[in-house]
Symmetry: D2
């Protein structure tokens, strides 16, 4: 009954198989491995972007902050939801990598609205040397609250960015989960919707530790390579990053893994709904934010269920509702979900 995070689950066998296979003989280091050629081509195919610049790093934070740094000057500010991962969970890495650039936080419980984004950008006057200059816009898909922007929602946000001539970054740590949820293509969810650069996550969706950064504008390629090395994120035995991504993207393994995770979450959400749980956000992908009585939480906890209490209130009346975050990875079995639900 492990619902603490999808970054705590095992590596998918299709990914592991390629990692093991990569351990053969010698391969040129630092991204010159032949598996990377395969990966680059595959990602260009997946994104229908034959010119895209494609790079691998090992952590989601590295993908986000290196991508953003290529689009943000130190005197600029990046616009994002106040609950974005880059704001809440990256310990000032975005500011570090962008030389002290700011994040301007859009006040929202989850997704940014186009109106709020527009107002925030308009609030940073271009040409006023006293204030931060507008930089990039960063959108998280799946959001940190488990919801998924529709293509229309994405396009409304990128349209605001474009109206201000700002580039758009997509934090796709759970990209596949979002794509499966929307039933669209990778291209539709990115450049066809106005995204300039995407952090294309693998780690949370069955890989060991690999994320791709995909630039639809390849003019950023060399700058990214220098920033990656300077950030100490260029792997010598890079083939093991390539191998993960190669296994991940073979056939539709990556989408199949996400289908499993999302499916588990849908099944769990349905069960919780029947048990009377209240949802804080729409469980569009593989994350659920919901409330139930503390007494139920206590039973789950005693039974060994793992998940985060979202409001942090551990003591109080038994009948009081607590808020929980549950994340399903591909390896969660239905039996675990049923066992979980049985405690309600």
């Amino acid at each position: 009954m492990f619902f603490a995070s999808d970054n705590a689950g095992p590596v998918h066998p299709d990914v592991m198989k390629r990692v093991i296979a990569a351990n053969d003989a010698h391969q040129m280091p630092y991204g010159k491995d032949i598996i990377m050629d395969e990966v680059r081509n595959r990602i260009r195919d997946v994104f229908e972007a034959p010119e895209a610049a494609v790079y691998l790093v090992a952590t989601g934070t590295a993908a986000n902050v290196l991508a953003l740094a290529c689009y943000t000057q130190p005197w600029q500010t990046t616009f994002c939801s106040k609950v974005a991962h880059i704001q809440m969970d990256e310990c000032n890495a975005p500011e570090f990598y962008a030389g002290g650039a700011k994040l301007t936080l859009i006040d929202t419980e989850d997704k940014m609205t186009p109106a709020a984004l527009d107002a925030a950008i308009a609030g940073q006057t271009v040409g006023n040397v006293h204030g931060a200059q507008p930089g990039a816009v960063s959108i998280t898909q799946v959001t940190e609250r488990g919801s998924v922007h529709t293509l229309d929602e994405l396009r409304a946000l990128t349209a605001v960015a474009k109206a201000h001539n700002l580039p758009v970054h997509l934090d796709g740590a759970r990209f596949a989960n979002a794509q499966v949820s929307l039933g669209c293509t990778a291209a539709e969810m990115t450049w066809k919707s106005g995204v300039d650069v995407v952090s294309f996550g693998g780690t949370k969706n069955g890989c060991m530790g690999v994320e791709a950064v995909v630039f639809f504008d390849p003019s950023k390629a060399w700058e990214f390579e220098l920033r990656r090395k300077r950030g100490a994120h260029l792997f010598s035995k890079h083939r093991f990053l390539s191998a993960q991504m190669a296994g991940y993207l073979e056939g539709d393994t990556w989408l199949e893994i996400a289908r499993q995770s999302n499916g588990h979450a849908a099944y769990l959400a349905e069960g919780l709904r029947e048990k009377g749980a209240e949802f804080l956000h729409s469980p569009d992908a593989n994350m659920i934010f919901a409330r139930w009585p503390r007494s139920v939480h206590q039973k789950l906890h005693d039974a060994g269920a793992k998940y985060y209490l979202w409001d942090g209130l551990l003591e109080g009346p038994a009948e009081e509702l607590v808020a929980a975050r549950l994340v399903c990875d591909w390896s969660i079995g239905r039996d675990n979900i049923d066992a979980f639900l049985s405690h309600f």
Copy 2:
């Protein structure tokens, strides 16, 4: 005949076995995995340092620059050999992570001499606000030229640092190779010789991508954790770093791997010596810098041998000597070495 780098070789089976074994069920992320507890204890044992703070990262550059940043203020300078990896091969990462601190380069072809180090430190007057203030001293062991400091040489350098109240960092990307070469203990090569923090390499010696940073002064622990996260180097699926290091340090696997690499290099060096090659540096560990005629180089190249030409001169008279760097990893077979030598 692959002698280009030890970072191009395969992962040792003992390491891979633990990686595969780690892929079981769920494990808490971000360094809270139980394998890390095992690793921490094992490293403390290996270093006879029960209080040491122990962390894992995935690249050697990350280990070096995060370790140094904990010991260098932005207005200070780190003293190192002008051929140190941190100067030559890390694309300003040391400066980036230390907030714009300098490196002061000791003019030498390989190892620093204590006298040159002392003069360089004395040249940066403490308390003169105009110049950089003295920061850390960084020593590379095995050096970038393949030689190994004796314990006496190490101690002479750290004594200079201590006389100026400066901390000492050891870049041990090839730590095991050095230790095997000296036949000493890990403690003798570090804190017993005046080293405060060590980058303890695994990647080049049979791992996939893992380096430990070991602080003998645990007061730096929390700062390191924050710097690692802020540098985007904290892995969510950290267990796969832990697993590599656990396999590496099981029994004396790590030393056995280094014994193999060093042994291959000794065998190759002996063969080269017989063939009349000239050595640029003492081949103390698993790297060889040597010269032979361009005509021989051409034959080797045609036969598919891989190594770096060190002086970069690709065209010239056939009888002219060219300089080459050869690195042996554990997986190089004797047959490959014999084949290589057969072209002389």
Copy 3:
């Protein structure tokens, strides 16, 4: 009728007199001038802080960001009002000088409330490596909206900071105006109220370009000197900074200048009140935020009055109210104020 800013007014004759007098013979550079000894002693007297470390820089932003950088690690965040100068008007200088540290903005139209400050600090969990760590608290006195924290208000804010073990910075670009407004001592408005370091402004109150940074904890002295030099803010002909501050603090010149500015503003505010203007904030010192009809604004503008329209709406119905910011410096004559009021 110049009410655009107090940084646009002339230097007070008592200050200029000392600048001219300082231009005699040679003086040791870089803060070793004898006038600085006088200034240091005088400031320690003024603040009743015989151990204080005292430094001069030429801009208010330099004072703020150098002071804050001494109290903020790169992985921390400084808490301030969302309208603070360090957020709105320093073009990411705080982030730059603190190595990429964040600002956490308290949502308020003017002053922070202790409750909001407390909630914001509590929101950044100490020991959670994923989020920014709590750093300093910065309070602006006079605020950017022209109001002055009472001593009780100040102490309530610093008490929150202290309860979280955080240091407190006071941005006193208009320190003298606030002190005159409160009728208290400099010590009462700073260390006696829990302030650790103050940017003690001179420029806006009759100097040419000089601000003191006063550390009540002198252990920060050497770090500040290094940061100032590294920031390129150490003046060779430092005596001309010293001379300004010496003239400013002679007798109670500095308070007298502030009395004049505040007096002008009070007289103007009284006149505006009689004319029916609405006030957006309490005009406690030398700044006024008020509303009047666009038709009046047009008359004032046509008559040559200079001030900022705060809502930026230049076109609209004549009877609609616009919001204006007026700042009085010491040199504004009563005749100018009367002339201004005559247009209502």
Copy 4:
């Protein structure tokens, strides 16, 4: 007998006159003062560069590091003499402002040679992601050792830079002294000789604290404005920087001041030569590096002469030679020089 530094002398009356005159009524802040318009035009005339972007800052270090930051990416390195001010006397400010870029030091006692510069640039391979990428070349004119590059020497250095497609910065803290020494025009010493941006010093040559940064390529203008503000170097009462520069450049005041300083130094050097002093460097402008016996130094010291002992050896045999640095500013009287020489 004050020869310690030209940054310790008084402000020239022609400069002070304009400072005092600027203290009239109100002026728009932050560089919008009308005096700046005059200065901009005057500098464009002086440099025969009608399109040049012209800015003022208050310290030489600010001018250098802001100018360089506009031409150096964080993963690049700037090439300069190992005795350059940016290396020796700016406490890592160049690295700070350029986001952790390096300085690559050319090994020389004074001026760089074109061959050494070329070798150093060639040593940083363009396109090798492991090493720093080549950035700008910085030349100091007058050098830190008091010598002046001839136009031919300048052009030979800039030709090397241009051959590698690198921009050239000129640190002209003593620009006027160099120009007077060469008898050339400002244009000849800058853009006509391949210089892209110049730190045009005023402070050491009779101003209070002002340096111009002149970009011959105006496309850097807005970036400079943002960097200046972000560095906390934009003055609110900017008119007092403008006024200094306006007075300095009125007629040929600036050259006349330099003629006086250089003339004093020439007279002093001639006297020293007659007394048998040995010169370490050619005293081309207003600085002298020379040796005389310790006994003479003792007499001079006892008589109150102020200058720096360059080798720092204060104790030793009376007849031993010590090395001294003497700097003449415009205000040094001949009587002081005669008095100085009388002690030999």
